[in-house]
């Protein structure tokens, strides 16, 4: 049902949403066929093959942008309104995830809206007002189709706003008023005085317009913060109301619930450009969705508000000192803690001015103490404007903050073309508010937003965001060749754009857009991309900022359609040289179309201009392209399970869990069979055995192929021997472990350490070259899946490999990490990412120096005069020790496990970065690991 263009009413949801964010369509119940049928008449002129208007059409905004999200049915069900108490609704963010157990309870409340509608219907209060075609000037639901939108009506769309408030009729019992209580005042908190009202002119003959004359303190309307004096209440839950029927309508509310009020905007006519700041979305959303839709921007938790953080966009040109805050073009948030930072902006302006004039280079950051808290402030100066982001040092280390500000600036440029056009236009303010509320939410409460499938995956997401969010690359899922080819074909078909409607002959007109390329994400992993690296990186950054990737991972998306004009830097760069032979980017405009379905997200970059017709105005999404993209996703339906399989046991190297190593020393003396490390290892292999027998075969084979290499066999444990018993399991590791233990039961890690240390000669990093000859490419690939570390034991805990040329990185999948589990391991992963961040900061310094050096070399050859600074760094490793948390045994000291976090930077032949985490017992050569990891890593 979800995937079809639904038969739905346009329930008065006017589309003046904050920015490109959007309404969340509530899933229509089957029972509402009545309403559904009534929408039959309205059809989209754009889509010729169907009489139905796509359900997202209403959400298209004036500027053509669309952000339409609809969850799949089952998701919706589990998320139905939590309207029992006021607290629950207002601070719903305190609830992290909606537990499965709750879903049953929720179902109780689920039909309430329906019930309400029924009651209204039965009382004949529900007017037949679903035929919207001609109701432009009288109803709250006068939503213009985007076509008309472009041509004529600009203001109407802004005239209405929806406000969802919580209404509790039980309040009435508390207030025993002698006279008939005014429900509007008591329940909603809106004061309307009849004597003030002006004569209505219009079609609604009876009753007066419900002008808001006042808001009662503490009332729902006031709490919502969106109802302004002067607004006109036109509908309650899509029921038209006037002063005449309002009391009756309100009295029909059966119990505490969320009610949607539709207002005619007080200033709609006067100030057309200013959009209403915020909009409450449907109650049937969970936190992430709420955040996505910008509904909760004012409901940010006090804990965040108490943390000093700020974003400011300042102009350095001071005209005069007449107006006090003239230099602030934009700032967010408005909280007391941030006020302080705002008030000292003079410091930043002066520093920026002065230090640049003294040193000739731009200010990058500054730190200060505020109320005993250290705050880092990152600067980004562009022409005469200054972008500032300040965050507490204990939450965000300085290198991360630097990355974040650059990331944010890049995404804003991608969305708006330049920082100036993003910040200097008033109508962007609510959009930016939303953008930065998500931004700070992600920074300060990373675990809130990563609503992944399981708690462990969620933890993993939160821990890794520190590093991964700032990588100039997209998370890549390595796929087997056949699958890759299949996906490639599907995307190529879409990109070829030779489907009927798009052929130029069909309509005898020029095509609207050229498809530049597309990228396919599955559960937030990039699985296939036909876009240039810069584009895909920017698109992924956009998705990250709007939390779309975690959304796709967690929720099955019923339908997601995003459409907006974008400004990809790659295409908009001024041509380097005016050489006629070099391909010149056409002076076109670019549009991003993201279509999401289930766990898939397909990002398509379209170009208008060039060889297609020029885009005029702010075109909305074109149905044909949306439909084609959706059809492409439908085509991929069958691939789901194979992708799942890859996620569960990807082609990446095998991992070990840190907890196994901690357990080991205690059990060292015990008999082999009881050793938990073994049983657990075997246990884990059972869960992964699923995929193929081919793999088993290859693992066996590759292992044997490996045997002849003499430099590897350390001591008495010949890893090759493991090959004989490998048949039972695809993973060599446990067998190797067992073999090793059998052959040398008393051997412990210390002995192992000695053994490996004894051979101090540098193992040949090209050692793999021999085996490469023996193995075909694919076999080698499979070999890579087996083991990354060199010892007999698999000692690899975690890794991140960044390939900057293609803009991708690989790291263990959520499923893989979840399979390992372990409390220490979770800690280790967190620590790993934090350590990598500081290692990467050093690498970034090196890269910057390299760039400077090549620049200097180009200008005049000044010899590298300094070896003083620690650049260039190519490898940096840190050894950590850890022990289990909550060690209760007082007598024994907790076992200690040591592991390395090693980062390695490769400048040639192409810039690559590798971060690995492995146990201390085996010495590892980072180059060798990198070779294995990066091998065959192609888009």
């Amino acid at each position: 049902m979800m995937s079809d263009p639904a038969w739905r009413d346009s329930r008065g949801r006017s589309a003046e949403l904050p920015g490109d964010l959007s309404s969340l369509e509530e899933e229509e119940e089957e029972g509402d066929s009545n309403a559904g049928a009534s929408s039959l008449g309205s059809c989209s002129s754009a889509s010729s093959d169907t009489d139905l208007e796509p359900e997202w059409l209403d959400s298209v905004q004036r500027n053509g942008e669309l952000f339409y999200l609809e969850l799949s049915e089952d998701e919706e069900e589990s998320l139905l309104p939590e309207t029992q108490t006021v607290n629950h609704v207002r601070f719903s963010e305190k609830e992290v995830i909606i537990e499965e157990d709750d879903s049953r309870e929720r179902k109780k409340y689920e039909p309430k809206l329906k019930r309400f509608t029924k009651i209204l219907k039965s009382k004949r209060l529900l007017p037949k007002r679903y035929h919207k075609k001609s109701s432009n000037n009288n109803g709250p639901v006068s939503i213009l189709k985007h076509q008309s939108d472009q041509k004529t009506g600009v203001t109407v769309q802004q005239r209405y706003k929806d406000v969802t408030v919580y209404i509790n009729p039980r309040k009435l019992t508390a207030i025993k008023a002698r006279e008939q209580p005014k429900l509007l005042e008591v329940l909603v908190g809106i004061v309307h005085q009849t004597k003030w009202s002006w004569k209505r002119s219009g079609k609604q003959a009876d009753g007066e317009r419900l002008v808001v004359h006042g808001l009662s303190p503490g009332g729902s309307a006031m709490k919502s913060g969106q109802v302004l004096i002067g607004d006109v209440l036109v509908a309650v839950n899509d029921v038209d109301v006037t002063s005449e029927n309002i009391e009756r309508v309100l009295s029909c509310i059966p119990g505490p619930m969320q009610v949607k009020l539709t207002f005619e905007n007080a200033y709609a006519v006067k100030k057309e450009t200013i959009q209403p700041k915020k909009k409450k979305a449907q109650s049937s959303t969970n936190d992430l969705v709420k955040l996505l839709c910008g509904s909760e921007t004012e409901g940010i938790q006090p804990s965040i508000l108490g943390t000093p953080h700020i974003i400011m966009y300042l102009t350095l040109q001071l005209q005069s000192e007449v107006s006090k805050e003239e230099e602030i073009l934009y700032h967010y948030p408005v909280s007391e803690a941030s006020q302080k930072l705002k008030s000292v902006r003079g410091i930043f302006l002066t520093l920026c001015d002065m230090l640049e004039s003294v040193t000739g280079t731009q200010v990058t950051s500054s730190s200060l103490h505020l109320n005993g808290k250290q705050i880092h402030v990152a600067f980004l100066k562009e022409s005469d404007k200054l972008l500032l982001i300040g965050l507490p040092a204990e939450e965000i280390p300085l290198p991360q903050l630097r990355n974040m500000i650059e990331d944010a600036a890049q995404t804003l440029k991608f969305m708006y073309g330049s920082l100036d056009s993003a910040f200097c236009q008033v109508e962007n303010t609510p959009r930016l508010d939303h953008f930065f509320s998500l931004f700070f939410e992600r920074a300060l409460q990373p675990d809130k937003l990563h609503l992944s499938a399981s708690p462990s995956a969620q933890q993993y997401d939160a821990a890794s965001a520190v590093l991964l969010d700032s990588l100039p690359a997209v998370r890549w899922l390595t796929l087997p060749q056949e699958l890759k080819v299949e996906l490639d074909t599907v995307l190529s078909d879409l990109e070829a754009a030779d489907f009927e409607e798009l052929s130029e002959d069909y309509y005898d007109m020029r095509r609207l857009y050229t498809i530049l390329g597309s990228s396919l994400f599955y559960k937030g992993y990039l699985v296939c991309s036909h876009l240039p690296k810069d584009d895909v990186v920017e698109i992924a950054a956009y998705c990250r900022h709007y939390c779309l990737l975690p959304l796709a991972a967690k929720q099955r998306i019923g339908q997601l359609i995003i459409w907006r004009e974008v400004f990809p830097s790659h295409h908009l760069q001024p041509p380097a040289d005016a050489d006629a032979e070099v391909f010149q980017e056409p002076e076109g405009r670019y549009f991003l179309l993201i279509v999401g379905l289930r766990h898939y997200m397909l990002c398509v970059l379209l170009e208008a201009g060039g060889c297609t017709s020029k885009a005029i105005g702010n075109p909305g999404p074109d149905c044909i392209y949306v439909d084609q993209a959706r059809a492409t996703l439908h085509q991929l339906e069958g691939v789901d399970f194979r992708l799942e399989e890859q996620l569960a046991s990807s082609l990446g190297p095998c991992l070990s869990c840190a907890d196994w190593f901690l357990a080991a020393p205690r059990e060292k003396t015990d008999s082999l069979t009881t050793s938990p490390i073994l049983s657990r290892l075997q246990g884990s292999t059972k869960t992964v055995t699923s995929p193929t027998c081919r793999r088993t075969f290859f693992s066996d084979y590759s292992f044997k192929a490996r045997k002849p290499s003499p430099s590897r066999s350390s001591g008495g444990c010949e890893p090759g021997e493991g090959g004989e018993s490998v048949g039972t399991s695809p993973h060599t590791t446990p067998d190797a472990v067992r073999k090793q233990r059998e052959s040398d039961g008393a051997e412990d890690s210390v002995a192992l350490l000695k053994l490996t240390r004894k051979k101090s000669t540098l193992p040949n990093p090209f050692h793999l070259g021999n085996s490469k000859k023996e193995l075909s490419e694919k076999e080698l690939e499979v070999y890579n899946t087996m083991k990354l570390t060199s010892g007999p034991d698999n000692t690899l805990f975690h890794y991140v490999a960044l390939e900057t040329v293609q803009g991708i990185f690989i790291t263990p999948t959520h499923e893989e990490v979840a399979q390992l589990g372990g409390s220490v391991h979770t800690q280790l992963i967190k620590n790993f990412h934090q350590c990598c961040l500081s290692i990467r900061a050093i690498f970034q310094q090196t890269l910057k120096e390299e760039k400077k050096k090549t620049l200097r070399a180009a200008e005049h050859s000044e010899s590298a005069e300094s070896v003083a600074a620690l650049t260039p760094v190519k490898e940096h490793g840190v050894l950590f020790e850890c022990s289990p948390e909550n060690w209760t045994d007082q007598k024994k000291a907790p076992p200690v496990m040591a592991y390395w976090v090693v980062g390695r930077l490769f400048l040639h032949p192409k810039p690559q970065e590798l971060y690995v985490c492995f146990h201390d017992s085996v010495t590892e050569i980072a180059i060798e690991m990198a070779f294995k990891l990066f091998f065959g890593l192609t888009l």
Binding site: V363, T364, R757, A926
Partner: protein, 454 residues
């Protein structure tokens, strides 16, 4: 080489070639001034000459700003955008006048007075709003502010490569310590006559300069006393105690080129800045046979004048060559080791040498800088406890860093290792042929071998 060692120079513009600044800074090793007789003096004559140059040059371009006056006048503009303009219009070079700013050190030539004024103004402005501005960075420059006793603000500006906030901040601490050492805290917190104070502080220029230049020592950064391991430690210790008894003082130490060879127990009990400062002071004084030099101890008795007596002893010939080598002759160091820094975090003593394998690249000066930078990096990112705090036993985090290494890029290939064991932190610089995976083992061995000494 030029421009790097002048750690206070504020501007990106490097000092013009051939200026006294660069010439002075080129002295790779600071003059190992010590007091062991004319023979030595002769040995180090060249270095001494350079010292003389540096001293005079330090007055010209020392680059240290000392600013007094933190109480803002009423009507201090809230918006510094405006302030900035006003400051610029102030007469450059005028002393005082703008917001009560008085520099008590000569402003360095590279920094016009207006810039000094704004640097201080920004900090002051922040302070008025209960915000403490600590540091700012541009792409190649770091600025650090530090206020002491609500009276003196020191500002360090450095565009030296690898200058870190940590090193600049610690240097400012040393500078303030040096000022207290010379004029006393009373004089600094309660300034009555700025001109007189300036004159008095002139005596500290020489010491402060030694923090700015590239010293052979590292105590200014590590806040540990640079030490030497004498060949016959116990004998030396005995002699020294006897001497202390005879002279009636508890604080006696024997120095070789700024490093402590042996010292009485009382000496080791000296507080933090002075334990490092006193040897540095001796190092910065012109060589004399004996000297009676009055100092204030910044930590122990900042307000009481101590008589610190520099004893004259028979030259201990054996110790002399030890100076830069630090370790006794014949100590088995691995051939790959190019530089070594060992710190004892509780005793607050350190051994620092870059003498091993002197024929290999890079030069001692470069080795020193690399190790200094590596120390700053390690302490900033991985071992934040540093020497300042003791290792916590209880409530230690689940993930403790123990060691780290760094491999420098193509063309260099040097390795730097840091290893923390208990209260000892060892930093090594190793030659490129040393295998990466063996670094930790090598460091552990070296640390174990060195443990008896420190």
């Amino acid at each position: 080489m030029r421009g790097q060692e002048v750690r206070f120079i504020c501007c990106a513009s490097q000092p013009p070639a051939g200026s006294p600044c660069s010439a002075g800074a080129a002295a790779a090793a600071p003059p190992p001034v010590n007091r062991w007789g004319t023979g030595l003096l002769h040995l180090n004559k060249k270095g001494f000459e350079k010292l003389g140059l540096r001293v005079s040059q330090g007055v010209e371009a020392g680059g240290l700003l000392l600013i007094r006056g933190t109480t803002a006048k009423p009507g201090f503009p809230k918006n510094l955008g405006g302030t900035w303009k006003r400051l610029q219009s102030g007469t450059p070079g005028s002393q005082g006048g703008v917001f009560g700013v008085t520099t008590v050190f000569p402003t360095p030539a590279q920094l016009p007075f207006s810039v000094v004024g704004s640097l201080n103004g920004v900090h002051m402005f922040a302070q008025n709003l209960d915000v403490q501005l600590n540091s700012a960075r541009t792409e190649d420059t770091t600025v650090v502010w530090k206020s002491f006793h609500d009276s003196i603000t020191l500002i360090a500006v450095s565009s030296e490569e690898g200058a870190s906030e940590l090193s600049l901040g610690r240097m400012l601490h040393m500078v303030f310590g040096a000022m207290v050492l010379i004029v006393g805290l009373e004089e600094l917190t309660n300034i009555r006559n700025v001109e007189r104070l300036k004159k008095e502080l002139r005596a500290s220029y020489c010491l402060i300069d030694s923090f700015l230049g590239s010293s052979e020592l590292i105590g200014d950064l590590t806040q540990c006393v640079d030490s030497v391991i004498p060949p016959e430690g116990s004998l030396m210790q005995e002699t020294l105690s006897g001497f202390a008894e005879a002279t009636g003082t508890a604080f006696v130490s024997l120095l070789v080129s700024g490093r402590v060879v042996a010292a009485t127990e009382g000496w080791w009990r000296l507080g933090m800045p002075e334990a490092v400062l006193l040897p540095w002071l001796v190092g910065s004084l012109p060589p004399q046979a004996a000297r009676d030099y009055p100092v204030y101890l910044p930590h122990g008795s900042p307000k009481l004048l101590e008589r610190w007596w520099q004893p004259l002893l028979e030259p201990l010939r054996a110790c002399l060559p030890l100076g830069p080598r630090v370790l006794p002759e014949g100590f088995p160091l691995h051939g790959d080791i190019l530089g070594l820094l060992l710190l004892h975090l509780e005793l607050r003593r350190c051994l620092f040498t870059v003498e091993p394998s002197p024929d290999k690249e890079p030069s001692p000066g470069q080795r020193r800088r690399l190790l200094r930078n590596f120390y700053a990096l390690v302490v900033t990112t991985h071992f934040p406890a540093g020497p300042a705090e003791k290792e916590e036993d209880a409530g230690s985090p689940a993930q403790r860093p123990r060691a780290c290494y760094l491999v420098l890029g193509p063309g260099m290939g040097w390795r730097l290792v840091a290893l923390q064991l208990g209260l000892r932190l060892l930093l090594l610089m190793l030659s490129p042929q040393s295998p990466t995976h063996g670094l930790r083992g090598l460091a552990t061995h070296t640390l174990q071998a060195l443990t008896p000494f420190l």
